[in-house]
């Protein structure tokens, strides 16, 4: 079949800039074939090459004694003792989810699960961070239903508990929702599988589902802004099959146990191209592929289509040849395709053949290593304006506004669509800070949380970046887990605009500083840029997922507040109302600076909570909505009223950082006071859990009334 001629239009349609095309000519010394152009476009798009972000990603702290493998592989690997490791990553599927919410979100979950089991880990927990447009926007309802059902549809069938996540609404996401999916798996630390191929003449094996035309060009689509032609991009969204993924996972783990695998890579963005090049490049080898051997779902597929297909549930592996029969038997048992489609070669060459014809012949190491890298111009985000005068509000009215807002009401409607109990190791259901699963068959547990406050990041990228890490750190400490490491999913607008690049640079500075100070290195991550529609960017949304360990001899903090418990506030309250939830929900004002983050205080206060867990019945971190919302949520969870003595609005609703609310009995409160004095941790009694009313600063409402608002608001908007 003849391939189209290379024209300027064709180059532009592949998302390649004229100077990038010149670079291709320079590298290969001739005009590329159509298939080769497709391969370059797949390797060099923003999604795969990180060309705008690489410079800044290098500044992040990525190492520590707990880190077994940092960024660069399919997922990060962290030591959890006893020869075991937790493997995790978060990745975005924003553009596909906006175009086709169910399949976009479902395949986002599928992709991240594959990243985890490709490394030899059985997935044990999933989370997600979702950002939607205004609840009143005509598209939001359909997106919420589709995305939530897609996440559930995939994860529930696959059989991984979805134990946490975030759901937020802001008109900045009207034209560009965010779907960030996280997965974590468990493996023996000495049985992790990496992507570097080794050995010449080793068979390259294709595993899993067949290749179809779905997703051709998906990664390139994800690297462009949206406009009114978006509906035309629907065919670039892949279709997920969790049943095949489940079998692929079982077969892959079984295969790994046979010792047949030299290296393995999942086929994600730009499928066959990226996986083959990655394995060859990391092993310093070339790769030859014979495309007629690729299992195909459709007749008449071209080399171009096969190299760029993003069909799901596929893997590429370099096999120990003597184990072929054994390996094939495993895949036949699970009724999956197993085909030798090529081999490793000694020359630095990526040779793609189709029915004996050369379709691509490129220098592999250069193809992989020569993606453009940009030092994009950036402008520092100007300091936020001073916060103006705020009229006082009745504290109960303020609380009612929060608990009935789609942003702060209960997310039960969402979470109950996710199976969070499969695997029978879930200790803490989603919805209350961190989710917790047991490490099966041990006394240990792992805690997971996902956090970011985009309006803080917009007002002050540096402090906002720090805050995302600090809140994740607090959510882990609040359940008694020691924070180990983080993964980030950096969602921003168009990096070619200096003010957007400035948000990115600022946020990374903050994230880097916080991860270093709190000893939670970033071990994996993903960048999603160009989240803009018709030139309007989303709120800068660097999602941080953190993983913490509860040791075998430690108890998680899982209790609820009870009648008679004392309410203790850990940490300092200045009364910071800038960019606060109360300001947005009651006054419809988005103003002021983000709350400053004192990393020293975060660390000290977090360690205090963990060290004194024996005196703590229930604990939550303070974030959006401050003391008032935290006290209400704790009361609602415990089914007991609460009285907070404070009358000042800034004290009640301020969003100062490094704070926790603790419930415990009187004797325990005394013990905590003494311990706090010794540790130099600010701690004071702010009220009591008692009765059936919520009382803030002398004003009361029945708990049941507030709880009903809290539980039913989400369903009222979207049910």
């Amino acid at each position: 079949m003849t391939e189209p001629a290379i024209t300027d239009d064709l180059i532009a349609a592949h998302g390649l800039k004229p100077e990038e095309y010149d670079r291709i000519l320079e590298i290969i010394g001739r005009a590329p074939s159509f298939t080769e152009l497709g391969i370059f476009s797949a390797m060099w798009n923003e999604h795969c090459s990180y060309k705008s972000s690489k410079k800044w990603l290098r500044t992040l702290p990525v190492s520590g004694p707990q880190v077994i493998c940092g960024p660069g592989e399919n997922a990060g690997v962290v030591d959890i003792g006893d020869g075991q490791a937790v493997i995790f990553k978060m990745e975005s599927h924003n553009h596909p989810s906006y175009i086709e919410p169910y399949q976009g979100a479902a395949t986002g979950v599928g992709g991240i699960l594959r990243d985890v089991f490709t490394m030899g880990a059985r997935p044990i927990a999933a989370m997600n961070s979702l950002s939607f447009g205004s609840p009143d926007h005509p598209k939001t309802r359909q997106l919420v239903h589709g995305v939530v059902e897609g996440i559930g549809g995939y994860g529930n069938s696959f059989g991984v508990p979805t134990i946490g996540g975030e759901v937020r609404f802001d008109s900045a996401y009207d034209g560009n929702c965010l779907v960030n999916a996280f997965a974590a798996g468990l493996a023996d630390a000495d049985k992790i599988f990496y992507s570097a191929a080794s050995g010449v003449g080793m068979p390259v094996v294709y595993l899993g589902a067949k290749t179809g035309r779905d997703g051709v060009g998906g990664a390139t689509m994800a690297s462009a802004e949206f406009d009114e032609t978006i509906e035309e991009k629907r065919p670039t969204v892949q279709v997920g099959d969790p049943f095949t993924e489940k079998r692929l996972m079982e077969a892959t783990l079984e295969l790994m146990a046979t010792g047949a695998v030299i290296s393995i890579q999942d086929m994600g963005a730009a499928g066959l191209t990226c996986s083959a090049v990655e394995m060859g490049d990391k092993g310093g080898l070339g790769v030859r592929l014979d495309l007629e051997k690729v299992p195909q779902r459709e007749a008449g597929m071209t080399a171009y289509e096969m190299m760029l297909s993003e069909s799901q549930e596929r893997m590429l592996m370099v096999l120990r040849p003597e184990k072929e029969a054994e390996a094939r038997a495993v895949f036949e048992k699970w009724d999956l395709d197993f085909a030798i489609v090529g081999e490793t070669i000694a020359e630095d060459r990526f040779l793609v053949m189709h029915n004996g014809e050369v379709k691509a012949d490129l220098p592999l190491a250069t193809l992989s290593g020569s993606a453009p890298e940009y030092d994009r111009p950036w402008e520092e985000t100007p300091p936020a304006d001073e916060l103006g005068e705020i009229a006082a509000v009745d504290p109960i009215d303020g609380l009612k506004a929060l608990v009935s807002s789609v942003n702060y009401c209960s997310r039960e409607w969402v979470f109950e669509q996710y199976d969070h109990t499969v695997m029978a190791d879930t200790q803490e259901r989603p919805g209350r800070g961190a989710g917790i699963v047991r490490v099966h068959g041990t006394g240990k547990s792992l805690a997971f949380t996902s956090d970011v406050t985009p309006r803080y990041v917009k007002a002050n990228p540096v402090e906002g970046g720090k805050q995302a890490v600090a809140e994740a750190f607090r959510n882990l400490c609040a359940v008694g887990a020691k924070p180990l490491a983080t993964t980030d999913n950096l969602n921003f607008g168009n990096p070619e605009k200096p003010e957007i690049m400035g948000q990115f640079v600022g946020a990374l500075k903050g994230i880097g500083a916080a991860c270093a100070a709190l000893d939670t290195p970033i071990v994996s991550g993903n960048v999603s840029l160009y989240n803009e529609t018709d030139g309007t960017a989303i709120l800068p949304t660097p999602t941080i997922c953190a993983v913490g360990l509860i040791a075998a001899d430690e108890e998680p903090i899982l209790g609820t507040a009870r009648e008679g418990h004392v309410a203790l506030l850990v940490g300092e309250t200045a009364g910071h109302l800038g960019q606060s939830a109360i300001l947005a929900e009651v006054y419809n004002r988005v103003e002021g600076d983000a709350p400053p983050v004192d990393l020293e205080a975060e660390r000290r206060n977090g360690e205090f909570i963990r060290a004194n867990r024996e005196f703590i019945k229930a604990c939550t971190d303070l974030s959006d909505g401050g003391l008032a919302l935290a006290a209400f949520e704790m009361a609602e969870a415990g089914g007991v009223g609460v009285t907070i003595d404070e009358t000042d609005m800034a004290q009640l609703f301020g969003e100062d950082q490094a704070r926790y609310l603790v419930a415990c009995n009187f004797d325990q409160a005394e013990a905590l006071m003494i311990a706090a004095g010794r540790a130099g941790v600010p701690l004071k009694s702010v009220g009591r859990f008692t009765g059936t009313e919520v009382t803030l600063g002398g004003v009361s409402a029945p708990l049941e009334e507030l709880a009903t608002l809290y539980r039913e608001s989400f369903g009222r908007h979207f049910g």
């Binding site: 059902e149 559930g152 549809g153 529930n156 069938s157 696959f158 059989g159 099959d241 969790p242 049943f243 095949t244 489940k246 079998r247 079982e250 048992k333 699970w334 009724d335 039960e412 979470f415 109950e416 669509q417 996710y418 199976d419 969070h420 109990t421 499969v422 695997m423 029978a424 190791d425 879930t426 200790q427 259901r429 047991r438």
Partner: protein
């Protein structure tokens, strides 16, 4: 007591069921769906939760035609015990071992939450560890748990005291809030809720434990 837990390619709660049986003191073997025979001396077959073949058609419809299922039907015909949970219950209705059908939840959404149940009969090895009418809480996690039967069948199930559990707040629209039923010889139980996820303190719920404990107790001495 010997239990055999069947793994279909899309089963995802097979391990959980193995653990629950084992913790209760049973000897457990897992059986692959392509096997055609159950292990010698199997007292009870466990059909676990999950999405046996992706369940893109009717849930459990393809599993009902797996090689092992022939052996499970014969086991039932010989008077053997079977516990089918969630997808296992769906497979039991698809094979005809249990009557009725499980349709999409009335609200059309997947539902995962702790669910209050009533123990509707204690006259079975599965439920003899509970008090009559006892309220227990066991998690549900399903998309297709809406139990449907003809009026005649409902009369018969009621008349023969074969409703094992009912929902107190019928989350999925099941007729007569049925959450689990027994076979006419009372040796096969199909239920949508997951007792194996409510067996340990760490689960936060422990009401499922008595189902397994009672079962192992009775069958061990049978």
């Amino acid at each position: 007591m010997r239990a055999a837990v069947v793994t279909f390619p899309g089963s995802n709660a097979d391990r959980d069921l193995v653990v629950a049986f084992r913790n209760a003191g049973a000897d457990v073997t897992t059986v692959w769906h392509k096997d055609s025979a159950l292990p010698e001396g199997t007292d009870i077959v466990g059909l676990p939760g999950g999405f046996s073949f992706g369940d893109y058609l009717r849930c459990g419809a393809i599993a009902a035609r797996s090689p092992i299922t022939r052996a499970v039907i014969e086991h039932a015909e010989r008077g053997g015990y079977i516990l089918g949970i969630c997808n296992g219950f769906q497979i039991l209705t698809e094979t005809g071992i249990l009557p009725g059908a499980l349709m999409r939840n009335a609200g059309l959404k997947f539902l995962c939450k702790p669910e209050p149940l009533t123990v509707a009969t204690t006259d079975s090895v599965f439920t003899q560890g509970y008090k009559p009418g006892e309220e227990i809480t066991v998690p549900i996690a399903h998309h297709d748990g809406n139990y449907v039967a003809t009026p005649d069948l409902l009369d018969r199930l009621r008349g023969e005291d074969r409703v094992a559990f009912t929902y107190r707040a019928n989350p999925n629209g099941s007729q007569e809030a049925i959450a689990g039923i027994l076979s006419d010889n009372r040796r096969v139980l199909g239920m949508m809720p997951h007792p194996e996820r409510a067996c340990e303190d760490a689960h936060g719920l422990t009401d499922g434990k008595r189902l397994f404990a009672g079962l192992v107790d009775v069958l061990a001495t049978a």
